[in-house]
């Protein structure tokens, strides 16, 4: 395939998100300006100016009218996707690390980092249909996990919130009461910081990636460990194909390994694994730096990866990708 290279960001990429229709790709980077691209040819549509810090995360509503972004400048902003104008700003006491709209886009879950005396927390905010009616108030605030919470997502039917972070434990919380319902098992769970989390298209299982060089597949309702995928690199980003049973892991290089490995240019790869057999199918090379973000187009026919090198690489699969056999 001929990947399309998009160099709109001057700093490393942090997050990538496709909209529900699969025609827009939103990219967040450390350069304060989330950008939206057309997902077919990589042409840039626009940028959202307004943040004063690295943008760690974003999510887009199902009708692709609202964008929510979380940034290190301690704010979470709501934007009009089409015009690039800010609609509302939520202020926090610490950098926001993860945001996600709930199903129905009426609520959003936001995680904030530990900062000075504040511990990390999970906030649930109500999102008003009319931006002028938007208020700052939280529906729910959950505290408890130690260390940074790198990702929090909604469970099936918005009944639960799944969080994962630096303490390597995945937790499932009740979204109405804030009670802790389940925790991942210490023995079989991750051993180091969990960097990323992605849900399956139907929400029945999700994948977590960790710096312990593995990714694990979990059942959403019972939090049982289903599969484990091992790599030689710490995993920074994970993605699941909505079309085939493939799992993609993107990672980096341990800082300690820098002097003893060879550095051929463009050798950071996104590794594809068979979801069920846990075996490596192959890798897609090309990035000049560790891969920090991965996203699959909802139609499953293309995916994009964002790296430390500031590039977004958009890949449309060749026809023989769909015929791969182990």
């Amino acid at each position: 395939m001929r990947p399309i290279l998009m160099k709109g960001h001057e700093r490393p990429l942090t997050f990538l998100k496709y909209n529900r229709d699969g025609d827009l790709l939103f990219s967040c980077a450390k350069d304060h300006t989330p950008t939206v691209w057309f997902a077919d040819n990589g042409e840039r549509l626009g940028t959202y100016r307004g943040h004063n810090g690295a943008v760690w995360t974003c999510d887009v509503s199902r009708d692709s009218t609202r964008l929510i972004t979380g940034s290190a400048d301690q704010t979470v902003k709501l934007w009009n996707v089409q015009k690039g104008t800010q609609l509302y700003t939520f202020n926090f006491g610490s950098p926001a690390r993860s945001v996600e709209f709930a199903i129905g886009d009426k609520l959003a879950v936001i995680t904030t980092d530990p900062f000075m005396e504040l511990t990390s927390a999970i906030h649930v905010k109500r999102i008003a249909g009319d931006p002028t009616e938007q208020t700052e108030e939280s529906v729910l605030v959950i505290k408890g996990p130690q260390g940074r919470i790198n990702r929090a997502v909604w469970g099936p039917l918005n009944r639960t919130i799944i969080s994962a972070g630096e303490d390597a434990v995945i937790r499932i919380w009740d979204s109405e009461t804030g009670k802790l319902l389940k925790e991942s098992d210490k023995e079989s769970g991750h051993k180091k910081t969990i960097t990323s989390l992605t849900k399956a298209a139907d929400g029945s299982h999700f994948l977590s990636g960790s710096l312990d060089k593995s990714a694990k597949l979990w059942d959403t309702r019972t939090l049982t460990l289903i599969k484990t995928y091992g790599t030689e690199r710490p995993v920074n980003a994970v993605a699941m194909s909505p079309l085939l049973d493939h799992v993609v892991l993107g990672g980096g290089q341990d800082a300690s390994a820098v002097t003893t490995t060879d550095h051929r240019a463009g050798k950071f790869e996104a590794k594809f694994y068979d979801k069920i057999l846990q075996e490596e199918i192959g890798g897609v090379k090309g990035h000049f730096g560790p891969i920090n973000a991965l996203a699959f187009n909802p139609d499953g026919k293309s995916f994009s990866s964002g790296g430390e090198d500031g590039y977004v690489r958009l890949h449309h699969f060749d026809p023989d990708y769909f015929n791969i056999k182990i």
Binding site: M1, R2, P3, I4, L5, M6, K7, G8, D21, G22, D23, L24, T33, T35, W37, F38, A39, D40, N41, G42, E43, R44, L45, G46, T47, Y48, R49, D63, S64, Q82, K83, G84, T259, T260, D262, E269, F272, E280, I281, G282, G283, V284, K285, G286, K301, S302, R313, H315, H316, D318, Y321, I324
Partner: protein, 310 residues
């Protein structure tokens, strides 16, 4: 609706009409058709943009005329190859979004922007190595053990991998890999075994140093002592080679052998190596002086090659 990719392969800026006497003035002045004289200079008018449509190779040429910063008229030829990369079935809303206006930093962008480009390399999903390799490696240790138990047969010792009874050095399947660390420990053991084996083989030629009663003891002792004077150096930089180590350790005494472990794939050092001294005292002094020494911007670790250092 099809998604297409345009990428620009070349753009020519050609200045034309350099002799334009006063271009700025003619641009700035208000233009009135009625006051035109026959021989007025109409150079400030630009020829229209030409689009030479997509031909059978997908090449499209757009020729535009502009005034550059110095006020010279330039002709810009943009050659684009239109490739159909993907077929995107877009729903009605997505089609509407395709026509949205650009905003933010993209406001002044045209299709020829250089932010987005198709990779010049063809990238494939590289499959991992065939699983057939693994099966072979598991078989080998089984064979060598079987040979050892035969007894009475000549014991084949391979210097490269240190495996006994399987193959000679020249037939080593692991020829390419660096010799594992254990060879230095194994060597005294191996030499014992080979002495015993050759003694038992009748009619096999036994070199003078190996013959019973010969000065064998001195030879093997000398070799063994050398290996006991072996110093392991770690945290070497990747372009360190044997001559570098020799140069570094020579001041401490006579060096019989230097070795640097190499990665055959990349040709760089694997970060460690061994130095054999003739005298143990020299080795000890080298360890004392060079452990922690900064060499080629890395701090060296120098220690005895075998754990027992008495």
């Amino acid at each position: 609706m099809y998604g297409v990719v345009h990428f620009t392969t070349g753009s020519l800026n050609m200045p034309i009409d350099k002799s334009d006497p006063n271009p700025n003035q003619s641009k700035a002045s208000k233009f009135r058709w009625g006051e035109l004289e026959e021989d007025d200079n109409l150079d400030f008018l630009l020829p229209p943009k030409e689009v030479i449509g997509t031909d059978e190779n997908g090449i499209k040429k757009v020729i535009e005329y502009k005034f550059n910063d110095e006020g010279n008229k330039v002709k810009i030829t943009t050659t684009t190859r239109v490739r159909k990369l993907a077929k995107a079935r877009l729903n009605r809303r997505a089609v509407e979004r395709r026509n949205w206006e650009k905003f933010g930093d993209a406001v002044h962008e045209d299709v020829g922007s250089h932010l987005t480009m198709v990779s010049t390399e063809e990238i494939i999903l590289e499959r991992p190595r065939a699983p057939g390799m693994k099966a072979e490696e598991i078989k080998v240790p089984g064979d060598s053990l079987a040979q050892l138990s035969k007894g009475g047969a000549v014991l084949m010792v391979c210097r490269t991998c240190g495996k006994k009874g399987d193959h000679w050095t020249s037939k080593c399947p692991y020829k390419d890999l660096a010799a594992p660390v254990e060879t230095f420990v194994d060597k005294p053991v191996a030499s014992e075994a080979s002495v015993a084996a050759s003694g038992s083989g009748k009619g096999a030629y036994v070199p003078p140093s190996m013959r019973a009663g010969a000065e064998r003891t001195a030879g093997s002792d000398m070799r063994r002592r050398n290996d006991e004077n072996s110093v392991r150096v770690t945290n070497l930089s990747e372009d360190t080679r044997e001559p570098d180590l020799l140069e570094l350790f020579r001041p401490f005494g006579a060096v019989t052998r230097v070795y640097v472990a190499m990665d055959q794939k990349t040709g760089t050092s694997r970060g460690f190596g061994f130095v054999n001294f003739v005298n143990r005292e020299d080795a000890q002094r080298a360890i004392n002086k060079l452990n922690g020494y900064g060499y080629d911007n890395l701090i060296l670790r120098v220690e005895w090659a075998t754990p027992r250092a008495n």
